[in-house]
């Protein structure tokens, strides 16, 4: 009896919680990024509208919005070079499991000011609050692997695949906001998730999810599938084309 009452209270609190007071609707400029031969990257624009109803308490502070875009997870090996007998060679390594291949946090203000660190860590908002799992280490974010974590973040940022930017979500009026995420040409193909968080005074008020897909199209798609599924034929076709090109070159430029 007491238990069911407790459950009912919890359920009521959840239902009457942030989701009712503020509601957020978001839309992406595209649901699919198509990679063709002239692909050099593409911008994805996100629009959001914050809807309030009669029950919404009036808030003294302004709304704060953070968007998190993550690419398909991939496991990578981070290796460190050390000087051995005068030569730089890979020595120590750490395998990072299922890290997002692409990661971008855009926020309307400073990321650290959005909410308490505990909340930011739960939603993995910002590099400092991301979770890293390593092979053979039961503890996430194991300090022993910290230098590999730093290196991973640095290399990913230099490749344009990881970023966190404050003041990059702009409000148009009080309740409409927009932000743009740049998808570079080296972004891996696959399914990307977009999560938008609405904060006010350090409290998470609402959350909305969207997604988009990056895929190769036309000739690029065909080649990529061909090379994987019929790899022997693909190799032979490459050789035949090479022989033909060589022959053609010899005929066109024949000197004797």
């Amino acid at each position: 009896m007491r238990r069911s009452v407790l459950l009912a209270v919890v359920a009521g609190a959840l239902a009457a919680g942030p989701a009712v007071a503020e509601h957020m609707t978001i839309a992406l400029s595209t649901a699919e990024v198509k990679i063709s031969s002239n692909f050099t990257g593409a911008p994805i624009t996100l629009f959001g509208v914050i809807e309030r109803d009669a029950q919404s308490v009036s808030r003294s502070g302004h709304y704060q919005v953070a968007t998190l875009v993550q690419g398909p997870p991939e496991s990578v090996i981070a290796r460190r070079k050390d000087r051995i007998l005068g030569v730089w060679a890979n020595t120590d390594s750490e395998t990072i499991l299922a890290a997002p291949s692409f990661y971008t946090v855009n926020a309307s203000g400073n990321i650290d000011d959005l909410a308490e660190k505990l909340v930011l860590e739960r939603y993995r908002l910002g590099f400092a609050n991301s979770r890293f799992d390593y092979r053979g280490r039961p503890q996430a974010n194991d300090p022993a692997a910290a230098e590999f974590r730093e290196a991973f973040l640095r290399i990913k940022q230099n490749a344009g695949l990881y970023s966190e930017q404050q003041d990059s979500v702009t409000f148009i009026g009080d309740s409409v906001f927009r932000t743009t995420v740049w998808v570079p040409a080296n972004a891996p193909v696959g399914f990307y998730t977009v999560r938008v968080f609405l904060f006010a005074d350090g409290a998470l008020l609402a959350q909305a999810d969207e997604s988009f897909r990056i895929s190769k199209t036309g000739f690029e798609q065909y080649l990529s599938v061909f090379s994987r599924e019929k790899s022997f034929v693909y190799g032979v076709v490459c050789v035949v084309l090479a022989l033909f090109t060589g022959w053609l070159g010899g005929v066109v430029f024949r000197r004797d």
């Binding site: 063709s36 991939e74 290796r79 395998t95 090379s227 994987r228 190799g235 490459c238 090109t245 070159g249």
Partner: protein
């Protein structure tokens, strides 16, 4: 103009890649070598992943070598029997090479071994070639004739069993050194993304004493055969042959090679060899610097293939 490479999964400037193919093709036409030892490092230094670079240069070498081999075929300057023995043993070497390539990649030591091999082999061959060509240049200046090949000359290589007659080369030698050379060059070629012509030619001349007029044609046929198999093996094991990249390189290379060959005909052989030797040594030094100099970024990240590693 930027173009997206579907296998490498990045976009590159098409004219830069085309220019590289053309420039290396020019040098390969000039010196009568495949040019893989220049092209593969150039691609790696310009940001193409080594796995894709090595695999995509293989069909480019096929194209440029096929073009050259055809010209020698018309002039009947190929020892087909010798070439076939070299191809068969080269394919064996290639098969070992692909397995070792994959193994080293998994261990994370591919880049190191490739760099060490470049330094060792390019340094060695470049040094020998430079020494030989400078002597030849000095001899020519003093009016001394180059030492001639004496038909009756025998080395320990001639004492080995399994003798085989190569008519076109006027040779009756053991098949063992021929097969070993083929295996060695097939192995190195697959591992390093080179045709191996610059190793094959001196090996045939100095070790087997194949007459110089059939050496280049025979070596080219061997390269076409070995690199064709290497392309297919790379496509099957690593799926890293980028068709678009290979086509741009091929077209650039074939055009460049024609101009190179024209200019090469007006230059003296020993001068050409000295220039090639300096070029080979320069590439070796570039790799040595890369190995010894403190890197800007001590860390690398690579994708983990397959969960079972």
């Amino acid at each position: 103009m930027l173009i997206y490479l579907p296998i490498a999964e990045l976009s590159v400037n098409m004219f830069v890649i085309f220019g590289m193919g053309g420039a290396v093709g020019f040098l390969s036409g000039l010196f009568g070598v495949g040019g893989g030892f220049l092209l593969t490092p150039l691609l790696i230094f310009s940001g193409i992943p080594p796995v894709v670079a090595v695999a995509s240069v293989a069909p480019q070498i096929v194209a440029s070598s096929a073009s050259g081999a055809l010209a020698y075929w018309r002039r009947n300057m190929i020892d087909m029997k010798l070439a076939m023995v070299l191809v068969v043993s080269g394919v064996m070497g290639s098969s070992i090479g692909v397995v070792v390539f994959d193994l080293l990649r998994r261990l994370g030591q591919l880049d190191l071994i490739v760099a060490l091999a470049y330094v060792t082999f390019l340094g060695l061959i470049g040094g020998l070639m430079l020494n030989e060509s400078i002597r030849s240049i000095f001899n020519a200046r003093r009016g001394r004739p180059a030492p001639l090949r004496r038909p009756g000359q025998h080395t320990w290589l001639h004492g080995l069993p399994f003798k085989m007659r190569f008519k076109r080369s006027k040779l009756y030698i053991s098949v063992i050194p021929v097969v070993l050379i083929g295996i060695g060059i097939g192995f190195l070629g697959t591992l390093l993304g080179i045709g191996g012509g610059f190793i094959m030619v001196p090996a045939l001349i100095y070790l087997l004493r194949v007459p110089t007029n059939v050496v280049i044609g025979t070596s080219l046929v061997q390269i076409v055969g070995t690199m064709s198999v290497a392309t297919v093996l790379h496509a099957m094991t690593n799926q890293s042959v980028d068709f678009v990249l290979a086509v741009i390189l091929m077209v650039g290379g074939v055009i460049g090679a024609q101009f190179g060959a024209r200019i090469g005909q007006n230059l003296r052989g020993d001068h050409l060899r000295a220039m090639l030797a300096l070029l080979v040594i320069a590439v070796a030094v570039r790799f040595l610097v890369g190995l010894v100099a403190t890197p800007d970024e001590r860390f690398t990240i690579t994708l983990l293939f397959g969960a079972g590693l």
